[in-house]
Structure formats: C-alpha cells, structure tokens
Amino acid sequence: MIPFALVQLRALITKEFQQIAADPRLLRLLIAAPVIQLLIFGTAVNFEVDVVPTAIVDQDRTSTSRAHVDELMADGTLVRALDAAQPDDALAAMDHGDVAAVIVLPEGLDATRLRHRPAPIQIVLDGTDVRRSTVAASAASRYFAQVDAPPPAIRLVPRILSNPTLDTQPYMVPGLAAMVLVITTTLITAMGLAREREVGTLEQILVSPIRSPVLLTGKVLPYAAIGLLDTGLALGAGSLVFDVPMRGSLVFLAVATMLYLLSTLGAGLLVATVARTQQQAFMGGFFFMIPAILLSGNMTPVLAMPKWMVPVTYLNPLRWFIEILRANLLEGSGFRELWVHLVMLLLIGSTLFVTALLRFRTKLG
C-alpha cells in the first residue's frame, strides 16, 4: 500500500506546483514578499526612543540656569525644540504636538540654593506615549539628582549578554521573519483548500482512493517547502543586512522551523475545514493570524501582558518560535535549553493537524 500512497502524494504535490507555476505572480509573491517585507520592517522597527523634543521655560535667565539647560541637553535625549517665555505657550506647543516635554526653571535658582533649600523644577510630560515620557522623566531626574552631589553610595554596573548594544534589529528581525511566514503559510493553505471546494475539484478528489491524511499532507508539503525556503532567505537577509548573529546550530533551526510550519499550516488546514469559500477561509485565517502576531511577544513582551493573558500565549506557536529564534540566533541555544519549546510546537502543530484531519473526515459523511 505504501508505494500507492506515495504515488498519490507525488501527484498531489506535482499538481500543486503546477498550479503555482500557472500563476507566476503568486510564486513571486510567496518568495519575494517575505524577504522584501523583512527588509523594510527590519529597518523600521526601532524601539530606542532617542529623541524627545523639549520646550524650555527659563524664568531665571541667569548664566546658572543657562548652564543647567545646556548640560541637561548634553547627552542628546532631550532636544531643545522651543524656548518659551510662559509655561502656557509651552503647553500650547505640546497640545499641537510640537514638543513632548516642558521643563520650567523658576526664577531665583541661585538664591534658593544659597538658602540651602532645594530649588523647585517643574517637568510636564506628554503622557500619550508611555515609553517616551518614561525616557524623558528619567533623563531629567537623573541629571538634576547628580548636580552638586557627592560620589554616590552605590553604583550600578550593568553588563548585557548576547546583544551588548541592545540594537533593536538582532532581536526584532527574527520575530519579524516568523510573522511574515505565518501570513504566507496559513493564508495560502486555508485558501487553497477552500478554492478546491469552491471549484468542485475537492469532491472529485474525495471520490478517488486518496485517503485524507495523504490529501492533507500533499496539500501542505509544497507550502512547507516554500516556507522553509522563505525562512532561509529571511534569516540570510537578516544576518547580511541587519547583522543578526547566527550563533546556534542550523540543524536545530531547521527542525524548529519545520515544527513551526507544522502548526501554521495546520492552522490553515483547520480553517479550511470550517470554511466553505475562499472568503471565509481568508477571514478565518485572519482571525488566527492577528492575535497570534500581536500576542507573540515580538513587538511587546509577554512579560508586559497581564498575568491572566500569559497562559493564553502558551497556545500561540508564534510565541514559542520567536523565543526559539532569539535564543538560537543570539545565544546559540539548542536542544538542551529549548526542548520545552520544541515539544510545545510539536503539541500545538499536531493537535491542529489531527483536529483538521478528524473534522475533514467527519464532514464527508
């Protein structure tokens, strides 16, 4: 029986590639789009808030106050975008979105200091972007805390492992690759099967002696191959263009990628068993992809999610794969450190696949 199933599988795969080849636009999209996207978004993602446009309201107008302002701006985080005479003018500029911080230096700085009283400094922040306001607040407080202070009692000596300069790209680009991959693989499988249903060829296959595991395997293998190719291209581009290191073993990476593809393709198949039309398949695929991408921990860390949300992310294949990619590429981790992740991917993938298979079978009766 085995050669028989293999012949069928080969026929399915050949047919799938012939269909892809019949519309070269699709092939181009499948192969070029992930890489191009990776390059664009890889350049775009940058979490470092390096510049906060700041308005200075210097009511003291002495050489002391001017010196403080200069030193405050020295490290480049706060950038002087406006000098305002009145706090109200500065606040109006903030309303308009021109500045994100206002620093008010009161009159009589030197006099206050002479009386051995702390001089009051007012800082007003635009709170819309939490990250930016945090950066601005800590830059200002750090400066004013060290003015005229004796050497500190305790000093922090940080040492950063695996990405010492904390560049955004090395840890974001692998995650982006995973995101881009889920779009290609999940949607295409879901819609491919739905299209066969719409056109009626699925019924014709079902009356032939192809068993459903063979059918589903034949339906996903071509896209698994394309997905694997895409991953290779994306990671290659990532390491060439964005200096993402590749410290781990490639074999491990390939295994992990295949397990990951098992779950994205499995999700596509599951959607396809529910959907009657391509349109429904697309929407189903979308409702899987959107939460998977946004709750993957790539753009905002899982640690920042509310506690009750964290267990939900255990079900997200993207989350595991992104952790694998980061640990493998940046730290060189392998089976020893990441076996839990592999097991999770395998569990999620095979559950999706088997559920799709069972649903597919029972729907025929």
Binding site: L12, T14, Q19, G200, T201, E203, Q204, P209
Partner: protein
C-alpha cells in the same frame, strides 16, 4: 479489467435524519451493460450512486460493486471504479494532460503506465490534439469528454456517470453517447443517470426511481409493454392539440398526451378507423401512425400511478 465488472445491490437504504432518500433498493447489473438510472429531481439517484462508489455509507443493506462490499471496503470500491459527478470539476488553470496526470496519480498510476493510459484514453475520447490546452479555455461539451476520459484512466470495470450530459448541446450529447457505447463495447459496465429520456432509450436496461424507491426495472421495450398497455397512435394535424377534449373520456381511450406537435393517443383495442372517424371531420389533414410508447410515456405513467396511490 480483471474484476467481475458487475453490481449487486441488496436492500440498499439511506436516511438523512427522518428523511429516506433511498428506500430499500435491490437490483443487479451484469458486466458490460449500459444501465440507466432514472427519476425526477430529488428522487435519490445521486444518493444511490454515492453509496455505490463508496463515498456515502448506507444506513441499511449493502451492495457488491465489482465483487467488493461498499460497506466493508469502500476504499477497495473506490479504486476499482470510475466516477464522473453531476458537476465534474477539473482544474481550470491546468492543461488537460496535467489534469489527467493528477487524477491518474490519485488512482496510483505513474511513470510510463500513466503516460500510456493518458495517450490511450485521449485517443478513445478524441482529445489527442487538446492535451496541451488549458482546461479553462475548452467549451463545455469538450470538458465533459475530458472528464469522462479522466474517469477511465485507471481502467475501471465499472463507470458511474451522474448526469454526464447536463447542459451539453445536442451534437455533443450524441458524440458523448457514441463514446459511452464504445466504452461498453470494450466490456466496461456503465451506470448512468440522465434527465434526457431519449438518451435513456440507448440503455440496455433502465431502473426508475420515485421518492427513493425503485418502482420499475427492465429494458425500455419491456417497460413500455408492461407500464403503458394498449396501442399508441400518433396523430398529426394542424392544431391537433385542440382534439384533447374530443378524446378524453371516450370509451376505449386510455390516455391522451400532447407530444411536441403531435398527440399521442393510447387506446385499448380501439380500431384505427374509429379514431379517424372521430377526428377527421375537425382535422381534414389528419395522419395516424402507430407508435411505440417512449420512456417518457413510461415515466409519466409510472410517476403518475405512484402519485395516485
């Protein structure tokens, strides 16, 4: 074609919930026969076929197709038969050859064997020049031929054709039936459903379904004899349709049916002269010819009878 090539249906039954789509059907089809399976829309024809090809499980009874039980080994059945569904679909974006290669592969054919079969079948259904054409570009009738050819790739002992000529023009239909006869001549059993009763006359035997039940089964001639008693006279004249009220209810007249521009008058031992006497005064250009009951007459008689009871 090593199998037995026959079909034995034994008290086959299928329910959908409370609804009985196929109700206790029993019959046999010997090898090489063209067997017609007729019935109104929703009578249960496709449901019967779907059980016989191993896709739909019977809720009662069983059938041996090519000697294999559809209950016990539906996959064994699938591998031995060919099937062309009511809505056979090919991949529109692939060529005829690519389509055939795929479906051949689905039946386990590969390599030289597959290529030989594609060539042979393409010759059988007159498609050789079209193998490299894109399927989407073919006209409907040709696509049906491709579909038929595709269902013959694995050299099945039996082919099931569910309304293969629906929506096909008359010329292509005639060509298609030439093919069916050719296939049957090669020893393949053909199980075919159709709504074109003139086509069904070509079958060796036909079975008639009404509401899931098999109500008649025989050769077209025997069905006509048994279900449409008496003699049929085909009356032709200008405006002959107006004669219906003149004839209905007369002693000896069993049935009056308009049939195209003719009137089919079925009588019970009534001599031709009598009819002539009744009609000639009103229709001077009358001609009367003895006719044979068509399957359409049979169909109407049987279905009408079923509805009365």
């Amino acid at each position: 074609m090593s199998g037995r090539g026959d079909i034995e249906v034994d008290h086959l039954r299928r329910e959908f919930g409370k609804f009985v789509a196929v109700d206790d059907v029993t019959f046999q089809v010997p090898r090489g026969e063209i067997f017609g399976w007729l019935g109104a829309n929703g009578a249960g024809k496709s449901t019967t076929i779907r059980m016989l090809i191993g896709v739909l499980e019977p809720t009662g009874g069983d059938a041996l197709v090519d000697g294999i039980s559809v209950r016990k080994d539906p996959f064994g059945v699938k591998r031995r038969i060919g099937y062309m569904s009511q809505r056979f679909s090919l991949y529109p974006d692939l060529t005829v050859r690519q389509n055939m290669a795929f479906f051949g592969g689905a039946y386990g054919l590969s390599g030289k064997k597959l290529n030989d079969r594609i060539e042979t079948v393409a010759r059988d259904v007159d498609l050789t020049e079209l193998l490299t054409a894109k399927t989407a570009d073919l006209p409907g009738g040709t696509r049906q031929r491709v579909a038929l050819g595709t269902s013959l790739l694995q050299e099945p002992g039996i082919v099931f054709l569910d309304e293969p000529t629906a929506g096909v023009d008359p010329v292509s239909r005639r060509m298609f039936w030439d093919l069916i006869r050719r296939i049957s001549g090669q020893g393949t059993t053909v199980f075919v459903t159709t709504h074109h009763l003139d086509e069904a006359e070509e079958c060796r035997r036909v079975g008639l379904m009404v509401d899931g039940k098999l109500v008649a089964l025989d050769t077209p001639a025997a069905l006509a004899r048994d279900h449409v008693p008496g003699t049929i006279w085909r009356a032709r004249a200008v405006g002959i349709q107006a004669a219906v009220p003149l004839l209905v209810g007369r002693p000896g007249v069993l049935d009056v049916q308009p049939f195209g521009s003719e009137l089919h008058v079925r009588v019970d031992g009534l001599p031709k002269e009598m009819l002539d006497d009744w009609l000639r005064p009103r229709f001077p250009d009358l001609t009367l010819e003895q006719g044979r009951a068509t399957l359409e007459d049979v169909f109407l008689a049987v279905v009408g009878h079923q509805e009365e009871t």
